[in-house]
Amino acid sequence: MVEVDNLKKSYGSLQAVKGVSFTIEKGEILGFLGPNGAGKSTTMKMITGYLSPTSGTARVQGFDVQTHPIEVKKRVGYLPESSAAYPEMTVVEFLTYVAEARGITAKDEISDRLGDVIIKCHLQKVQGQTIETLSKGYRQRVGLAQAILHDPSVLILDEPTDGLDPNQKYEVRKLIKGMAENKAIILSTHILEEVEAICTRVIIVDEGRVVVDESPEDFKARKPGAKIDEIFRELTNKNSYA
């Protein structure tokens, strides 16, 4: 469903992503790990078509992001890291706008979809509030609601559980897991337990390169008995000060 081939991105002399390749199929939940600044977000942004790669290709269901951006954007749901939304709009106004902009025009369908995601993301209590008045956890869930609104076949979530309390984290993970059956999902995270809990595959990027691409079981088996955090630290610690 998603094929990423030797994707590179440079900003002037700084190489943020130095050749990332992977493919994921329907039903997979890919955990995208790596230290801050490793190139996770940049890679995700290139797959969504927000950033154009310096070289390499990304395809979603066979459509190249560079040559068919609109086709790709139709099929992808994206939760940006900043959980970007328009502060002065209410939750319902915002979701209606996203639905319309995604080409859902029939009133019935809009209210169906909205009702569905509002329940899934537990937004009933705040649906009439403006987004600027919401807590971080709610904002994050508005972002998630916006990403799954059009039932995309590919979901790209940049730190979906960031800022949520443990109960909300649990709920969101359950939600993601529940949707995985007929979607390909890429999520980035810093929480390694999250990978164990829901991911079917782990990719670790460090300094713009893929250093690990395997199942969470294989990943844990690298150092039997060790915590997943320790393995992560060993793999990515070359340049840190700790």
Binding site: I70, K73, P80, S82, A84, P87, Y97, V98, A101, G103
Partner: protein
């Protein structure tokens, strides 16, 4: 068109979601009508809006950048640009939709000043053709200024910078044909002075407020608007 409407609607209503839109409308109205009154709208004893129209470009100089500065800078700053750019909408439709929304807002501001035209019609017997062509000129010059503001807004995440730069550009473009510059340009050969004044917003605007809808003026405003919007699209595609 399908993808244009949702953005247009959201942007247009956006002006009224916060007090900013109302404040801008009120200030514009007070300035436009107030300046006309204080500069001899009654004293001139003429049933015309000439005085009002003569101030419009100078008020627009500030009013249009104030309207247009948020179009892209706001999205750049808050990061919502990421959301917009990952919706299945082409960049050109997004640019055009935002432009039309802001233009519509300016249309409302202009429409409110029509009270002055009605007053004039009540007090005397104005040349309505001239008034209509004057308002048409206002809309055109507004569109052209707005395309400049939209472009400046797309280049920064700071609304203040977008405002200041677009005021500067609009000011320069307007002043190209004014008396003030003419005195400076006097030393230049006439041919060059003529070319320069052909690029003046003010001269084309004044032709139209005199009741003449010239092809030169019309095409000047439309092509400058289209050109700035095209650069806007290219910048966002980077």
């Amino acid at each position: 068109m399908n993808t244009l409407l949702p953005i247009l609607k959201k942007e247009f209503l956006g002006y009224f979601r916060s007090p900013v839109g109302y404040v801008i409308l009120a200030v514009f109205h007070l300035l436009a009508v107030g300046l006309a009154f204080f500069s001899g709208y009654y004293r001139s004893n003429q049933a015309s809006l000439d005085i009002f129209f003569s101030f419009v470009p100078w008020i627009f100089l500030f009013f249009i950048p104030a309207t247009g500065m948020r179009l892209w800078a706001e999205e750049n700053r808050s990061g919502s640009i990421e959301l917009l750019m990952t919706l299945p909408i082409s960049i050109s439709s997004a640019v055009i939709a935002k432009f039309l929304a802001a233009w519509g807002f300016i249309g409302i501001a202009l429409g409110l000043t029509f009270s002055l035209a009605i007053t004039t019609g009540y007090l005397g017997d104005p040349d309505w053709g001239k008034i209509i062509s004057g308002y048409f000129a206002c809309l055109l010059i507004a569109g052209s200024f707005l395309s400049i503001s939209s472009l400046c807004s797309a280049m920064t995440k700071n609304q203040v910078i977008a405002f200041v730069i677009s005021v500067l550009i609009c000011f320069f473009a307007t002043v190209l044909g004014s008396q003030f510059l003419a005195s400076l340009v006097n030393k230049l050969p006439t041919a060059i002075a003529n070319v320069v004044s052909n690029f003046s917003y003010l001269i084309h605007f004044q032709t139209m407020t005199r009741g003449l809808i010239e092809l030169a003026a019309l095409s000047f405003f439309l092509t400058t608007t289209a050109a700035f919007l095209a650069i806007n699209i290219i910048i966002l595609k980077r």
